[in-house]
């Protein structure tokens, strides 16, 4: 027997039996191990149908053990099931597909789970876990022990060898001519037209550097398929896979509807033995980068290549699955429970969502923003809200005001059990980040980890009510919002009892003001009081020098929740719901609005804002001149819009449908959920797709339309500052009107 220790890079099903594990060993070697790993799935239903299934499975050409078993369903408790154990995890997906066709009336459990999650539940593994392995001469694992925990913050970093590959152009816009490659040892540019040296050098680099992680730009959707096709055509193998028996696997592109929007996921290219991340196809890459992806993988136990390309919802679902498996709870394909019967009034009262208290429109000084720490997940943990604990018959503890369901407290629910360590880790990380210098070498990594946790925690609430969640239940979703409403109202009462004026409430945040209170310690008694009244952690997000809550553009008397901008005492600008935050704002408009805000941020208090006006006036004049004289680069006019439907489904022409039509004519197509880039143009058609292939004549840009957009963006940030009299802004207002 040999012993090894190192980091677990990847785990996947072997093509014949068991699983393959890759370890980055401490001696610098990358080793491939095999392990027997039989998997079991279950079926429940009427006895005669289960007998039919038993006979059907017996006829299959697979080695399989069948038995009658009793397992725990989260909702219905002890359940009689047919248990089927197969030696080869990779045989399960095709078998299961067949079973759903022939036995659609049966309930299947643990049938579609990722092998990495099954393994994690048994051996407590996770991607990049420190492991100690006992293996025989054929590298078959006999024992594996995990040496660290996914909840550790300062874990030992694996010495990953990274290769980045990037084309010199966006392939959707222009045909790239070269690719740039960069690794710890090499830095080179290869010509895509010169196929022989391209394949030769790339193959050499892959062998020589033997990277663990290949980070590409457009690798999933363009680059890797191109290189692999070329390698096949030229019969020049490229060792993208480290596993000599492994196959490059492709996942098809798809569009789907979730969170009230169409979401697009591009084609994926997965490797074996090494990892491939396409930064253009990595979810939230801009938010948390590679560090965040690795942290997502650690806490969810999903393989790195998978977790990078799935939504945080899939991540939270994976965590719930691991918790269920660890507790020997059956994992259904989908939830089997239906909503309980409610009267129309009960439905009205239960399904109300979060509390919003419209802001007091205008400019305010010395305002503190206090936020509950991950409010909804904290509520789930504190009040034990889980699909199996909500809606029980017995009232055992306090219930939130207005909640018609009651919550069982005796046993910790599946969801709180899953979330508690994640919340604790995030809390610890945030506390460390707050107390450390931005130049600390851990700062960036901690921030990335916290951002990854944030998205998981944000999603976990929605997932309780999500139609396809395995452990979802609408009553649990409603219970969370009911507690949320109660908690926020208690916080508001606490603030008012301590003499604060509440300017705005928004689900889990509160904006308060009190004459003379402008330092952090002035707000500490309020935080203590809110924590005492709600038993939930709350923190001071910051104190604004000034903040402006905005009105509706159509009716100046109507306030718009969560639409504001302000400057914290440390000079940081915060904006919500205005042009700078919108994806469809052209860069030129976004930059101008941000520059105005930066100019305003220089004012030490609201009274000094007027001193910034000459600078703002100059800025707007410069922008106006640049716009008219054609000095704005064309790229800055690009508007990004999400394609909401197929081209043939558009009933009337719009800029998006026009752009899609032009792209179709140029042989390029976009699917719903993808972003289309367009520029507003004069005459007909009114828009032009940026990626259509030919260059755009600058004289065709619809300058009046961009002028209107600019004017609106300027109005947004200057309107609330004018107050009632508007006297000190007259000149700028005039300028805006001129625009």
């Amino acid at each position: 027997m040999n012993q090894y220790s190192g980091w677990l890079l990847d785990i996947y099903s072997h093509t014949e039996r068991g699983v393959v594990l890759w370890l980055l060993c401490d001696d610098g070697q990358r080793r491939r191990f095999r392990q027997d790993f039989p998997v079991t799935f279950y079926a429940a239903g009427p006895s005669e149908r289960l007998r039919g299934l038993w006979k059907f499975l017996e006829r299959q050409p697979l080695r399989m053990e069948l038995s009658r078993d009793e397992r725990r369903d989260l909702f219905s408790g002890s359940t009689i099931v047919l248990a089927a154990t197969i030696e080869s995890p990779c045989a399960l997906p095709p078998l299961f597909q067949m079973l759903t066709r022939y036995f659609p009336d049966l309930i299947f459990y643990n049938a579609d789970l990722h092998v990495a999650l099954r393994y994690a539940a048994i051996y407590k593994t996770f991607p990049l876990a420190r492991c100690h392995v006992l293996a025989d001469e054929q590298d078959a694992i006999h024992q594996i022990k995990v040496l660290d925990s996914k909840w550790d913050i300062d874990h030992e970093q694996p010495p990953l060898r990274v290769l980045t590959i990037e084309p010199d152009a966006d392939p959707f816009h222009n045909k790239p001519g070269k690719i740039h490659l960069r690794s710890q040892k090499n830095n080179m540019t290869l010509d895509l037209e010169k196929e022989t040296p391209l394949l030769g050098l790339l193959g050499y680099l892959l062998k020589q550097d033997d990277p663990d992680l290949i980070i590409t730009t457009y690798g999933d959707t363009w680059l890797l398929p191109l290189l692999l096709n070329l390698s096949e055509k030229r019969d020049h193998p490229l060792p993208f896979n480290r596993d000599p028996d492994g196959q490059v696997s492709y996942r098809k592109e798809r569009s789907y509807f979730a969170y009230n929007q169409v979401i697009y996921r591009g084609q994926q290219v997965h490797l074996t033995g090494r990892l491939h991340l396409d930064i253009r196809n990595t979810v939230m890459y801009g938010d948390y980068g590679v560090d965040g992806v690795l942290e997502m993988a650690r806490v969810t136990s999903l393989p790195i290549q998978t977790v990078a390309r799935v939504s945080p919802g899939t991540g939270i679902s994976a965590m719930q699955i691991v918790t269920a498996l660890e507790n020997e709870i059956l994992v259904p394909l989908r939830k089997e429970q239906v909503e309980r019967t409610k009267t129309a009034s009960e439905l009205f009262h239960d399904d109300m969502g979060g509390t919003v208290y419209d802001p007091i429109i205008g400019l305010h000084e010395d305002v503190a923003e206090v936020d509950f720490f991950s409010m909804y997940p904290s509520i789930m943990v504190r009040f034990n809200i889980s699909p199996e604990t909500v809606g029980t018959e017995k009232k055992t503890f306090e219930t939130a005001a207005g909640l018609t369901s009651v919550v069982k407290r005796e046993e910790l629910g599946l969801i709180p059990q899953t979330l508690a360590p994640l919340l604790e880790k995030r809390f610890d990380l945030k506390s460390r980040v707050l107390s450390m210098s931005k130049f600390d070498c851990r700062y960036k990594n901690y921030k990335a980890q916290a951002a990854a946790h944030k998205w998981l925690l944000v999603t976990c609430f929605g997932y309780l009510g999500y139609k396809n969640a395995r452990f979802g239940r609408i009553e649990a979703h409603e219970a969370v919002t009911a507690y949320g409403r109660e908690v926020l109202l208690r916080a508001k009462e606490a603030a008012e009892d301590l003499g604060f004026r509440v300017l705005h409430l928004y689900v889990d945040g509160m904006w308060v003001q009190k004459p003379g209170s402008r330092a952090a310690q002035d707000f500490q008694p309020l935080l203590d009081e809110i924590k005492a009244r709600t038993s939930l952690p709350i923190a001071l997000d910051g104190i604004y020098k000034w903040v402006a809550f905005l009105s509706s553009r159509w009716n100046k008397k109507i306030a718009v929740p969560n639409r504001y901008f302000g400057v914290f005492q440390n000079g940081e600008i915060k904006t919500r719901g205005i042009e700078t935050r919108r994806h469809d704002t052209p860069a030129f408009i976004r930059e101008t609005q941000m520059q105005i805000l930066e100019a305003l941020a220089k004012a030490s208090d609201a009274k000094e804002l007027k001193d910034r006006l000459p600078e703002i006036r100059r800025l707007i004049r410069e922008k106006q001149t640049a716009l008219h004289s054609g000095h704005i680069p064309l790229e800055k006019f690009i508007v990004h819009q999400t394609v909401s439907r197929k081209l043939e489904d558009f009933k009337s022409p719009s800029p998006v449908s026009t752009a899609l039509e032009q792209l179709e004519s140029a042989g390029k197509s976009l699917r719903p959920g993808q972003s289309v880039r367009l520029v507003y143009t004069l005459g007909m058609p009114r828009a032009r797709a940026w990626d259509v292939g030919t260059s755009l004549d600058p004289r065709r840009v619809n300058i009046p339309r961009y002028r209107r957009l600019l004017s609106r963006a300027v109005d947004t940030v200057l309107d609330p500052l004018t107050g009632g009299g508007r006297s000190w802004l007259t000149q700028v207002e005039q300028l805006v009107l001129d625009l």
């Binding site: 066709r101 129309a344 139609k467």
Partner: protein
């Protein structure tokens, strides 16, 4: 009184309604509740309790005559039907096919679930009356499901192919 929901014992009506009929449908639902209890199975996120409350002039004794359950996926829709007993209470199923257009569910499964639902409709129609509403299928929705359901209903009522007059929305 709106005759949109004319529920009669031992019969089930299939109402094909475009979305613009939603207000009228919910108003008719509130009016039905004035006459007695009503079971609503909402399979297409159609039931808006505040709209129904307005139509019932905020009178709780009428609003609470309506017992609602919602389904968000086609499996749940079938489960709701399965769990609903035949009795003296009329049943209204809203937006029934909406969850069946979910492309994440394999077509053979959807067909199986639809057949189960049709059996339940036949069972439930033996009670105080059953109405099932669906919206006309869009070009990309599967026409088979629509046709199959249509062919199994006792009576099919199609609305909104051409509006005869402009309709003023109710203020209260």
């Amino acid at each position: 009184m709106d005759d949109l929901l004319d529920l009669r014992p031992r019969q089930w009506n299939l109402l094909v309604l475009p979305d613009r009929y939603r207000n009228r449908l919910l108003t008719a639902t509130a009016h039905l509740a004035v006459n007695g209890p009503l079971i609503v199975l909402d399979c297409g996120r159609q039931f808006d309790s505040s709209m129904v409350a307005r139509a019932a002039h905020g009178r709780a004794e009428f609003i609470d005559q309506i017992k609602v359950q919602r389904a968000f996926i086609c499996y749940e829709a079938v489960k709701l039907l399965e769990k609903t007993p035949v009795g003296k209470t009329p049943i209204l199923v809203l937006g029934f096919l909406s969850t069946f257009y979910d492309e994440n569910v394999k077509m053979h499964t959807r067909k199986f679930l639809l057949e189960s639902s049709i059996k339940h409709f036949e069972r439930l129609s033996q009670g105080a009356g059953l109405a099932v509403t669906i919206h006309p299928p869009s070009p990309h929705e599967d026409f088979y499901l629509f046709q199959r359901l249509r062919s199994s209903a006792s009576q099919v009522l199609v609305y909104g192919t051409s509006m005869t007059k402009a309709q003023q929305m109710d203020l209260f």
